[in-house]
């Protein structure tokens, strides 16, 4: 795997390979010495041309746990804001010695373009591009859901998919790269996805996507999902007339206390609430829902590091063979389940 650009183009085999490798990585995070020598001497550049502290520090932690050198490059106060082209920026970074470029970019398609441009030979990892994709977020969500399913079945997660899982994704689908990446990945893994949003925040042509579409969150929850993923709602959407007011949004599409109760009664016994963060408490999610034991937000954050370790390892190790690398001595592994 040379690059990770999207989940739409990710095969089931590659998706499982990343997730299984992430399980290996997560064993490292459970050890006293949270470090592997796997990427010693390799350089990972976090090129963040859009604000995102959470994703950047997650990638940074992941690279450091694999002993890679990390260079952080952000769009503010750098040459990019002085008008340097992306081409010149990445060629400069490669001249400094980058082996992989983890890029967060405001423009949809920027990662794919960089990977296909011939400007550089480094691996490219898409850390979110415009309203297109955020593949590592979807992978960490899938890792979280897969572990959840494995716990339910009393088995180990390795090698398993999400067959039969019902996942509802709620909110600003139109502008959400997280929703897109999750839709493609979760359906590749066998989950059934329902999108719930006001019609104005539903993408054009969504009826052609491999999912159910509903304007009623109540109906979606009453159908008994295994997971409800709440998307962050940006306040500027209200000013652009996508919905009349925050209060109306919350009434119809927020995970309110009443809908939390509905989920408790109608959903799976172990139904979970997911959120990519940061949460808008009181808008898309109530305080009770946010603080519920069902909320996997922190587990998602921890899994994010494991998934990003797996992705960096796979794109930089250059292994094309199937199966997961034997990174961790078997003695160090924790028993599964």
């Amino acid at each position: 795997m040379k690059h990770l650009l999207s989940t739409q183009d990710l095969s089931l085999g590659d998706a499982l390979r990343i997730l299984d490798t992430a399980e290996e990585m997560s064993a490292v995070s459970g050890r006293e010495v949270k470090k592997l020598p796997a990427l010693r001497g390799r350089t990972v550049v976090n090129l963040f041309l859009e604000d995102s502290t959470r994703t950047r520090i997650s990638f940074e932690a992941a690279a450091k746990r694999l002993s890679a050198d990390v260079i952080n490059f952000t769009g503010k106060g750098t040459s990019v804001s002085k008008g340097e082209s992306l081409k010149d920026t990445v060629q400069t970074l490669e001249a400094i010695g980058a082996d992989a470029i983890v890029m967060r970019h405001w423009g949809s398609g920027a990662a794919a373009q960089l990977a296909g441009s011939g400007w550089i030979t480094s691996s490219v990892v898409n850390a979110g591009d415009g309203t297109h994709e955020h593949p590592t977020q979807a992978l960490l969500d899938a890792l979280t859901l897969r572990r959840h399913l494995a716990r339910r079945h009393g088995t180990g997660p390795r090698g398993t998919d999400l067959s039969g899982m019902k996942v509802v994704i709620v909110g600003d689908i139109l502008h959400s790269r997280v929703a897109r990446s999750n839709l493609w990945l979760l359906t590749t893994l066998g989950a059934e996805v329902t999108l719930a949003a006001p019609p104005t925040l539903m993408p054009v042509g969504v009826e052609q996507w491999p999912c159910q579409v509903t304007y009623s969150l109540d109906e979606a929850i009453a159908a008994g999902p295994d997971a409800v993923m709440m998307l962050r709602v940006q306040s500027e959407r209200m000013h652009e007339a996508f919905f009349p007011s925050a209060a109306e949004y919350t009434r119809s599409w927020g995970l309110t206390d009443d809908r939390l109760a509905l989920l408790e009664s109608a959903g799976a016994d172990d139904a979970v609430i997911m959120h990519p963060g940061p949460m808008n408490r009181g808008l898309e999610i109530s305080a009770a829902a946010a603080d519920s034991v069902r909320n996997t937000a922190l587990e998602q954050v921890a899994n994010g590091v494991s998934v990003r370790m797996a992705v960096l390892y796979l794109v930089l190790s250059g292994t094309e063979t199937a199966g997961t690398p034997d990174l961790v001595p078997s003695a160090a592994r924790r028993p599964e389940a």
Binding site: Q8, G107, S108, G109, A110, G130, V204, G205
Partner: protein, 448 residues
């Protein structure tokens, strides 16, 4: 042209009406067509050059209503000199230079400058298009009359790149140009519906996460404008029609006798939004590449006369404005040197149109729309008018070439057809009797 100027006998070519015939150029005019061409050539005085056109098509010189020559202002992307070299290589003997230069061509001074640059270059007739509104700002009318009565004799007015969105202003423009038989060429794009638009709006734009440019934003303006044209009894030209719905509206308007003409670009006849999956900005253009169904509707519209002409929308851009992220890249593609091959590929080789039809959509009709009397002098059946100015393009439809933008005469390299195989090549072009292209290469410019 001096009396001793060479005469040219274009020998053995296939004319648009399907006949094989000789054509004689004498004193910058089409002196004779048919058997008398050879006898008259042999009887006449002065040097005679023979152009072997056997196996080739002899077309009237092509007329483009929609060219961006970029001068003044963006000479790094194109100049009148380089753009008209490209035009000549593409078989065009007349191009209309769009007004979105810097400064904008919204005054007699600027249009005369562009017109003069065209004369000095000598590769192709250059007719400046005048801006409809001052600075293309869409607020108040430019001095249309001054441009019409200038030496550039402007008849086509357009804010191309910007839509004349204000309905009152559009009405006034349509009315006002009646005074000098002008035409308003509308760039139909409802601005609010296309804020930040990056590609055709549909399922693919949703997948790619790019802001959509919905078909309705074009169709709503065209519908409004044909009704305005009917209401004020003026004529309207619609630039770069790109959707099946627009074709339907124009067909409806023509059936009702509304005086509307329309153009389609070569790229909208061949490429679809699927190209955007690459995020390669060479495919970024306005209006955007649409769906396969739109491509087919445009081809049908040209075949049945709903769409009148091909406008290349030749839009050269520098490398740095295309070698960047899709969302900030410039919109537009070069097109002059590939227009005729694309038309052959999309319309002739598919059986939708014969060469008389090509002469209609690429020469006589655009000349009529722009009120040019020295171009497009050919009948609907494809019979040349003798005595008309000798604007002639000889075209070899039998070669197949791989498009290499590096070999193009335009200063810019943003051809969306790079690496694609297209049929045909212009071999010779006569601009008012002067050979500006000979044997598939630029010859010498015409001097005035």
């Amino acid at each position: 042209m001096s009396p001793t100027a060479p005469r040219y006998l274009i020998s053995g070519g296939t004319l648009p009406d399907g006949t094989t015939s000789d054509v004689l150029i004498e004193d910058a005019l089409l002196a004779a067509v048919g058997p008398e061409a050879r006898s008259r050539a042999e009887a006449g005085d002065g040097p005679l050059e023979t152009v072997d056109a056997s196996g080739r098509i002899v077309l009237p010189g092509l007329v483009d209503l929609h060219t961006h020559l970029r001068e003044p202002g963006r000479e790094d992307a194109e100049t009148v000199e380089t753009g008209t070299r490209a035009a000549a290589m593409g078989g065009f003997t007349s191009v209309h230079a769009m007004a979105n230069s810097t400064p904008v061509a919204d005054s007699a001074g600027v249009v005369e400058q562009v017109w003069q640059l065209g004369r000095e270059a000598g590769w192709c007739d250059v007719h400046p298009v005048g801006a409809v509104t001052v600075g293309l700002a869409g607020a108040r009318l430019a001095e249309l009359g001054a441009m019409a009565s200038s030496r550039a004799e402007v008849r086509v007015f357009s804010d191309d790149g910007m839509c004349v969105a204000d309905p009152v202003l559009m009405r006034r423009a349509l009315e006002y140009v009646k005074a000098f038989d002008g035409v308003v060429a509308q760039h139909a794009q409802e601005p609010r519906l296309t804020e930040g638009a990056q590609m055709n709006e549909g399922e693919l734009s949703s997948v790619l996460g790019l802001s959509g440019w919905p078909a309705v934003a074009e169709e709503a303006i065209i519908a409004r404008d044909v009704l305005l044209a009917q209401h004020v009894g003026s004529r309207l030209h619609v630039c770069h029609v790109s959707t099946a719905g627009s074709v339907e509206i124009i067909r409806w308007a023509k059936e009702r006798g509304i005086d509307v003409t329309a153009e389609a670009t070569p790229h909208h006849l061949l490429l679809t939004e699927e190209s955007v999956r690459s995020y390669d900005p060479v495919f970024k253009v306005n209006p955007p590449l649409r769906r396969e169904a739109d491509v087919m509707a445009l081809r049908e519209g040209l075949a049945d006369g709903t769409i009148d002409t091909i406008g290349t929308d030749h839009a050269p851009h520098t490398a740095e404005t295309k070698e960047c992220e899709w969302t900030v890249a410039a919109m537009g593609m070069t097109g002059l040197e590939t227009a005729l091959p694309v038309v052959q590929h999309a319309l002739v080789d598919t059986g939708l149109m014969d060469w008389a039809g090509v002469s209609r959509i690429l020469s006589s009709t655009p000349a009529r729309i722009a009120r040019l009397t020295d171009q497009g002098r050919i009948s609907a059946a494809g019979v040349f008018e003798t005595g008309a100015p000798a604007n002639v393009t000889v075209y070899d439809p039998h070669v197949t070439r791989t498009v290499d933008p590096a070999t193009h005469a335009t200063r810019s390299r943003n051809s969306p057809y790079r690496g694609m195989e297209l049929p045909g090549q212009v071999t010779d072009v006569f601009n008012h009797g002067h050979p500006v292209v000979r044997d598939r290469a630029l010859a010498t410019p015409r001097t005035h």
